[in-house]
């Protein structure tokens, strides 16, 4: 058997798995009856529907008439740098304060660009920290931990 539509095949698998997971999770909540539904009823049947439709998507992708698609290669470097930079910013926000963590976010995420250069990354970081200070903290009065907690 040949997988012709790889995009649909893996999407279908994903839907089946996620749907089944939600249904399975719903069984730990009370189901109730149609007239008096428990918290598990609606998500259980939604999950079942999702799994069934996901199976349809997967089967369709195997049929002879399915169009041929490939999944483009993942650019792990970009994913790792961008997601990593955001996660790091989130993790350091409370301990290092907003200025330092935003600075880190900008500098680190800049590595994801194919035209990275230190002066521009640092310049952008300084500019954006200033912007955050001016627009969000001064202008909109959002409450952030501002400075590293060990200094405060």
């Amino acid at each position: 058997m040949q997988i012709k539509n790889k995009q649909d095949f893996w999407s279908g698998i994903m839907f089946v798995v996620v749907g089944a997971a939600f249904s399975l999770g719903a069984t730990s909540y009370s189901m109730g009856t149609a007239a008096r539904m428990g918290p598990g009823y609606f998500p259980f049947w939604l999950g079942v529907c999702l799994s069934l439709l996901g199976a349809v998507v997967t089967l369709n992708s195997l049929s002879a008439k399915a169009e041929n698609t490939e999944i483009e290669k993942f650019n792990w470097k970009v994913v790792f740098v961008i997601i990593g930079a955001v996660v790091l910013c989130g993790l350091t926000l409370n301990s290092l304060g907003v200025y330092a963590s935003i600075f880190l976010l900008v500098v680190i995420s800049s590595f994801a660009s194919h035209e990275f250069s230190w002066p521009i990354a640092l310049g952008a970081a300084v500019f954006l920290v200033l912007f955050v200070w001016l627009a969000f903290i001064k202008g909109l009065g959002l409450v952030f931990p501002l400075w590293p907690s060990f200094l405060a």
Binding site: Q7, D8, W10, S11, M14, F15, V18, G19, F22, Y29, S30, A34, A35, R36, M37, G38, P39, Y41, F42, P43, L46, C49, L50, L53, V56, V57, T69, F74, N75, V78, V79, I82, I83, V86, V87, C89, G90, L91, L93, N94, V98, I102, L105, V106, S109, A112, S113, H114, E115, F116, I120, A121, A124, A125, L128, V132, F136, L142, V143, F144
Partner: protein, 501 residues
């Protein structure tokens, strides 16, 4: 005339210096961010939403409406100048708008888009003012069963506007509904799918998913293109359309307005469907269809007007039924609930100043945008020249700060990052985020009405088909499904989408 009294009340609210300032600020911010490539109204509103929290309800919603229209205008500008649609409905704008720009008629194209949208906005505002009250009367006849059927219709509408395969789009909706189940169950108080994490008991915020799935994954997709990313150039030409273009435009503008106004009322149909429908119509009835896709002004004017009219009338289901017509109005519902206003038919009687003020400020917002955009075209072009290596860290910063400010909680930042990764995977699998977001918003509402309807009917499922209003809504939904599923229509749908490339 009650209509005029109401409109007067609206204008008296909207024309206070303070509210005018917020409308203007919203328009400017919305345009500034919406004009950035790849950022459409949804991320723009998601980003700027927290700003409105600190304002009084009326001012907050007025500003939000301003942001909405601003972002939409900004999106068309990018679509025309650099063929980068900031949102799905701007995809149609690219077809003929960008071709006009290539022919050296960029200025004319921008002016046509702005004026067409303004005309559509004016008409739709009047429609909104005239028909929202009777529609609200209808809304009172809506029981839980009707609401459920209406949401089914809305979700089916969302399927129609997805460009990919039909079962996949339905799957994404179901996935969105399931994600909406995360959090505390309102009826029993049981925390569902929270994995013992207290932050998840409040559910997953719409903005968190929107920024991850749209904002972050868009950035990653752009970055991996590297050198091949579309370079941005600025060539605007003379600003005003000539006589010939004007003559070709105005019938399209009127047809687009009519079409958009009707489709916008349908929850879930929204602006996207209307611009595609209008483009198809214009091409069908044109005497020289071969000029479409090569810079025919009607191919730009029709969809742009339809888009704006639909954007306006999509506030009818939002304000009268409390049903979001698209992802943007879904965000507005979120904003309203934060201001302690329950959207629905009672808004009109309990908060008349808010209701009519918002309608009046929509028109004012449209006017401001024309005034803003026509002279500022040159400036927008300069803004587009910001190199992407500076632009994307800025977007990341805005998203992160925006998400954090939702609940002042770092956990939300981490969830957004996770959805960013998931969104990237989805974009590789060609799974669309828009239906998912609609499902996410409608999920809890749908469950509540479903449960309530069955509770009232003592568990009898036929309640959905024995109540005439509910039945007709379900029949409409079924008709929509058949239309989409019919091979001939499907082929046409594919054709429209092939032409975009």
């Amino acid at each position: 005339m009650e209509l005029f009294d109401n409109l007067m009340l609206g204008f008296s609210v909207a024309v206070t210096p303070e509210n005018l300032a917020y409308a203007l600020l919203g328009c400017i911010l919305g345009t500034l961010i919406g004009v950035l490539p790849g950022i459409g109204p949804v991320p723009t509103i998601a980003m700027l939403l927290p700003i409105t929290y600190v304002l009084p309800p009326v001012a907050g919603l007025i500003m939000l409406a301003g942001i909405y229209y601003g972002a939409q205008y900004g999106g068309s500008t990018t679509a025309i100048l650099v063929a980068l649609p900031g949102e799905t409905s701007a995809v149609v704008t690219v077809l003929d708008g960008h071709q006009m720009a290539r022919n050296g008629r960029a200025g004319a194209a921008l002016a046509i888009a702005a004026l067409g949208s303004f005309f559509a906005g004016c008409v739709a505002t009047i429609l909104l003012a005239a028909f929202a009250p009777p529609l609200a009367e209808v809304a009172f006849k809506f029981g839980p069963a009707e609401y459920f059927s209406l949401m089914v219709l809305g979700l089916v509408g969302a399927v129609v506007l997805a460009s990919g395969s039909l079962p996949k789009a339905i799957c994404m909706i179901l996935l969105g509904l399931l994600l909406g189940m995360v959090g505390t169950d309102v009826n029993s108080g049981v925390a569902r799918y929270d994995f013992g994490i207290p932050e998840l008991q409040d559910g997953i915020d719409f903005a968190v998913v929107a920024m991850g799935v749209f904002g972050f994954s868009e950035i990653m997709n752009n970055l991996e293109l590297g050198d091949q990313r579309v370079e941005i150039t600025g060539k605007v030409g003379s600003l005003y359309p000539n006589k010939q273009e004007f003559k070709e435009c105005w019938p399209a503008v009127i047809r687009g307005t009519a079409m958009g106004s009707c489709l916008g009322i349908l929850p879930g149909g929204g602006a996207v469907l209307s611009s595609f429908a209008s483009y198809t119509l214009e091409k069908k009835i044109s005497r020289n269809p071969e000029r479409f896709g090569k810079g025919h002004p009607a191919g730009l004017a029709g969809p742009e007007s339809a888009n704006n009219a639909a954007a306006q009338t999509s506030f009818i289901p939002l304000l009268t039924l409390g049903i979001p017509g698209n992802a943007v109005t879904a965000l507005m519902i979120g904003a309203m609930t934060i201001h302690n206003i329950q959207p629905g038919p009672q808004v009109m009687t309990s908060h008349p100043e808010l209701f009519w003020g918002l309608i009046a400020s929509m028109w004012i917002g449209n006017l401001m945008l024309v005034i803003l955009n026509l002279p500022l075209v040159g400036l927008w072009v300069k803004l587009l020249k910001v190199p992407y290596r500076l632009l994307f860290p800025a977007i990341l910063v805005f998203c992160t700060v925006g998400v954090y400010s939702l609940n002042y909680n770092v956990f939300d930042i981490l969830v957004t990052a996770a959805f960013g990764f998931v969104g990237y995977v989805w974009s590789k699998l060609r799974c669309e985020g828009a239906p998912l977001l609609l499902g996410l918003v409608l999920g809890p509402m749908m469950e509540e009405n479903f449960r309530r309807a069955l509770l009232l009917s003592r568990g009898d499922y036929t309640t959905f088909v024995t109540r005439p209003l509910s039945l007709s809504l379900l029949v409409l939904a079924a008709i929509l499904v058949v239309i989409v599923a019919l091979p001939s229509v499907k082929k046409k749908r594919d054709e429209t989408f092939v032409e975009e490339d």
